[in-house]
């Protein structure tokens, strides 16, 4: 049943996406590990980690597209779920440092020793275990999304109001994680990681494995999201996006459907964050910044919301452009470009790269298209 759930209704574009990600996940680590450094086929570890980061963002974008593109919930706080997943992973990595920290304390991370803490806070218990930490990667963002969504959707907070309170949520978390006495390293966050599952995080082999793992999770995330949006539940969710009260009059409990999608999406964002942290080597409160969450929205918009492949594509394209832009003489102009991108996409490409390309392709194939319905109302 699961296979059918994941693979039914897969279209050509979906298969192409899966094939490409699988190929990257296999070939890039091999090119990194097996090819000699001088070879044109060699992929440097830095490049691989950079693309690993893009792919984490792609997973985050898919998770956001699930709620925004399909359910019409514009979350301006998805960065919070990403960061929470990242912190859960970061806590595991901190506990793996053991007595190799600067202060050599076998239990307490360096920043706690620095703050004169005597014992580990209770919420750090268990994070030395990898399975427990992975459970938390899913459970913490999921639980927050569930509680938040349960209140918000039940009381029918919609549209811009919902967007604003999701933004307030991530802002509140930003402020909270900046505090030293929260026990998450304050301003500096968690860093100086040593091992993951006994392997050195800095080692080339570990990096390659992390990259491959990111591809695996991206594929899984894509399949799950795809399974959801092509199921009847997906049709209900789209119906909610387009005509919420009509869906209610058909007897669907709109709040529960939203809550389901929102929670699944938050878990997915948490996984993306967890994969991001060991590849980037640090997690700090700035990941909670509202601006990050809004940037995620623009990746999805650029790629084409309401299309999972588009969301992933948008994340990779925008972040690749950001890297190219900010590393050269154009660096001061990156924010101009990003800002212009926001305006341009909303004004001229409401369907994103993929949707626009598809529309262009179809109009070439069929000279007289059926009258397309008005663009989806965003609420």
């Amino acid at each position: 049943m699961i296979t059918r759930f994941l693979l039914s209704n897969m279209d050509k574009r979906g298969y192409a996406f899966l094939a490409i990600v699988a190929a990257i996940g296999l070939l890039v680590p091999l090119a990194n590990l097996l090819m000699p450094a001088g070879s044109p086929l060699h992929v440097s570890t830095a490049t691989m980690s950079l693309w690993g980061k893009y792919l984490c963002y792609a997973l985050l974008a898919i998770s956001l597209d699930l709620v925004w593109g399909y359910c019409g919930i514009l979350s301006l706080g998805h960065g919070a779920f990403f960061a929470l997943g990242g912190y859960a992973m970061g806590m595991y990595l901190m506990r793996q440092i053991g007595s190799r920290g600067v202060y050599g304390n076998p239990v307490l991370p360096d920043f706690m020793v620095f703050l004169n803490w005597q014992e580990l806070p209770w919420y750090w218990y268990g994070f030395s275990s990898f399975p427990f930490a992975m459970l938390m990667v899913l459970a913490v963002p999921g639980l927050l999304a569930f509680v938040f969504g349960w209140f918000a959707f039940r009381s029918r907070v919609t549209g811009v109001y919902l967007s604003i309170i999701t933004q307030a949520l991530t802002y509140a978390l930003l402020l909270a994680f900046f505090r030293n006495d929260m026990g998450f390293g304050g301003n500096n966050g968690l860093t100086d990681f040593k091992d993951i599952l006994g392997f050195n995080v800095q080692a080339q082999g570990t990096r390659a494995a992390l990259f491959a793992m990111t591809c695996v999770m991206l594929i899984s995330g894509f399949l799950i999201a795809r399974g959801i949006v092509t199921s009847k539940l997906g049709k209900v969710v789209i119906a909610i996006r387009d005509a919420e009260s009509r869906t209610r009059f058909l007897g669907y409990r709109v709040d529960r459907f939203k809550l389901f999608v929102f929670t699944v999406s938050a878990c997915m964002a948490g996984v993306a964050g967890a994969l991001y942290v060991p590849q980037v080597g640090i997690i700090n409160p700035s990941e909670f910044a509202p601006a990050n969450s809004i940037e995620t929205v623009i990746w999805v918009a650029v790629g084409g919301r309401g299309s999972l492949v588009g969301a992933a594509l948008g994340a990779v394209v925008v972040n690749w452009a950001k890297t190219v832009f900010t590393s050269g003489f154009m660096a001061p102009y990156w924010l101009f470009a990003l800002g212009a991108l926001f305006v341009f996409v909303t004004l001229f490409m409401p369907k994103g790269i993929l949707g626009t390309a598809q529309g262009w392709w179809e109009s070439r194939k069929r000279p007289a298209p059926v009258p397309a319905p008005e663009p989806a109302p965003a609420e």
Binding site: L74, V160, L338, V343
Partner: protein
């Protein structure tokens, strides 16, 4: 012996006050100068007392120099190094041509410093200027030097100025309360004097009551402490309330433009904070021009900046509306994204033009400084910002209620299609509304330039707070925005002492998130079927 000594001293002081110089006093002064050269803390302390009592003409100069470490002594000679770097003979007050050789600075310890404090106070107590006498009494109050008591009592006896008399009495009380051999009745009376004074210093003095106190005195002390603490707590609450109102008026200024654009057009303008920033930078430019060309007008710089900021921010607002937002009506979430993009562009443009660092905006004379109102410390800039916020609010209310444009704006808020059918050009109203909202944000920028850093990130730090104010207050209702801004400002400042600034803010954010669940459309929302449509 102590008794005899006190008596002699009292005698000496009385004679000094009567300004009858005697040989004995001259000899006493000579003794003092000898003691200053002895390099012993106790001798130095004694020397100070003697100088005060002998009313030596140079006493003030010498003691002040001692306090600053400018008094040099050695081999019987005593010299004062002036602040300008010259030297005086301490005995005669005459300038010395060369720096005296072999002299060392007279050393101080805490006890000597305390004696100096009291002595300076004692010297000032007989100053002809009442203001100086009050200051001297304050110094004595803090030093609580028992040796000044006789001078103090003599001064009280002939004091005519009410304010100075009270200050002197308070100083006396501060000494008496700690004086174990004073008559018990006087000490209890002293407690009362301190209780009436009722400030932090009085509290500290009361708390320092020696352990010997009689039960009656202790009871009086406890009562006085409780009363002062109660009064001070009330003042503190008042001060926090004031800070809250001040923060509230800043929030009101920042949010009210947003309330208009959001209320009338249903548009979330993420670039609103950048309009505030533009207003602040306009103020900066206006000031730069005035500094360079018309320095005499500096005190008017803010008054000139107000219309300038309104026009600049308003014009940018109209441009944004005509250029981007009008293509996105009915798609609020897209508007949100596009305006966010605009905010990035504006920030980066300002960063490119003015640099990423903070710019200095000066305060005109009438906005600097502070004054005290009872137990409240009130800074002029905060007061003016509250006044300014109130004026802006009143002006907006008047525009909405009294002008044809306001009528049309309200019509569009309530029923866009009907208004359009009535012949109102909704496009023009939208542009004007957006311009008005942005212009008001520019005004907020003028005010914020006085209390915050003028940097490209200025707007970012206010945008979320502004949203919270608008959402909490309810859309389409200026009074709601006012009440919301003030209650959030006050709640924030009242929470701060207990929870700390950050936790207080988090608590408020969580509160608003929960509040929206209960009342999704804010405190004062429009009701009925019209809203559902």
């Amino acid at each position: 012996m102590p008794f005899l000594f006190s008596f002699l001293r009292l005698l000496a002081v009385v004679m000094a006050l009567l300004a009858v110089p005697t040989i004995a006093l001259a000899q006493a002064a000579e003794d003092a100068f000898t003691r200053l050269g002895a390099d012993s803390f106790s001798d130095t302390a004694r020397a100070i007392d003697i100088l005060v009592q002998s009313a030596h003409p140079n006493a003030a100069v010498v003691i002040e120099a001692l306090a600053d470490g400018r008094l040099l002594a050695g081999g019987g000679a005593v010299a004062v190094k002036t602040k300008e770097g010259g030297f005086l003979d301490a005995r005669t007050g005459q300038a010395l041509t060369a720096a005296p050789a072999g002299l060392n600075a007279v050393r101080l310890n805490n006890n000597v410093r305390r004696v100096i404090q009291g002595a300076l106070g004692g010297l000032g107590l007989i100053n002809p200027d009442p203001g100086k006498r009050v200051a001297a009494a304050e110094a004595v109050f803090r030093a609580r030097d028992v040796s000044v008591l006789p001078v103090l009592e003599a001064a009280i006896a002939k004091e005519t100025d009410n304010r100075a008399r009270r200050a002197l009495r308070e100083a006396q009380a501060a000494i008496l309360i700690a004086k174990t051999d004073a008559p018990p009745f006087d000490r209890i009376a002293a407690v009362d004097v301190l209780r009436e004074r009722g400030d932090q210093d009085a509290l500290a003095t009361l708390r320092a009551l020696p352990g010997d106190a009689s039960p009656g005195l202790k009871e009086a002390q406890a009562r006085a402490i409780a009363e002062i603490e109660g009064k001070l707590a009330l003042w503190r609450a008042g001060q926090n309330l004031w800070y809250g109102l001040s923060l509230g008026s800043v929030l009101l200024l920042a949010a009210i433009g947003l309330a208009i654009t959001f209320g009338v057009m249903g548009v979330i303008n993420m670039a609103h904070g950048e309009m505030v920033m533009l207003g602040a930078y306009t103020t900066f430019i206006v000031q730069e021009v005035i500094r360079a060309r018309f320095p005499g007008l500096f005190d008017w710089s803010l008054a000139i900046a107000i219309p300038a900021a309104f026009i600049v921010a308003g014009a940018v607002g109209v441009a944004i509306e005509r250029g981007v937002i009008r293509f996105l009506y009915g798609r609020p979430l897209e508007t949100l994204l596009a305006t966010w993009g605009i905010s990035l562009i504006l920030q980066q443009a300002v960063r490119t033009a003015f640099g990423p660092t903070n710019r200095e905006v000066g305060a005109p004379a009438f906005m600097s400084g502070a004054f005290e109102l009872g137990g409240l410390a009130i800074t002029w800039n905060r007061l003016w910002i509250i006044v300014f916020a109130a004026l802006v609010f009143a002006a907006l209310l008047a525009i909405l209620k009294l002008t044809p444009m306001g009528l049309q704006m309200r019509a569009v808020t309530q029923n866009r299609r009907m208004a359009s059918a009535m012949g109102i050009r909704t496009g023009r109203i939208d542009a004007l509304t957006f311009g008005l909202g942005s212009g008001v944000a520019g005004l907020a920028g003028v005010a914020l330039s006085q209390i915050d850093n003028v940097s490209p990130n200025l707007g970012q730090s206010y945008i979320i707070d502004s949203f919270m104010v608008v959402v909490f207050g309810g859309v389409g209702n200026l009074w709601g925005t006012l009440i919301s801004a003030m209650s959030l400002g006050v709640a924030n400042k009242l929470l701060e002492p207990y929870a700390g600034a950050v936790l207080g803010k988090i608590a408020l954010l969580v509160f608003i998130i929960l509040f929206i669940q209960k009342r999704p459309r804010g405190l004062f929302a429009l009701k009925g079927r019209a809203v559902e449509a």
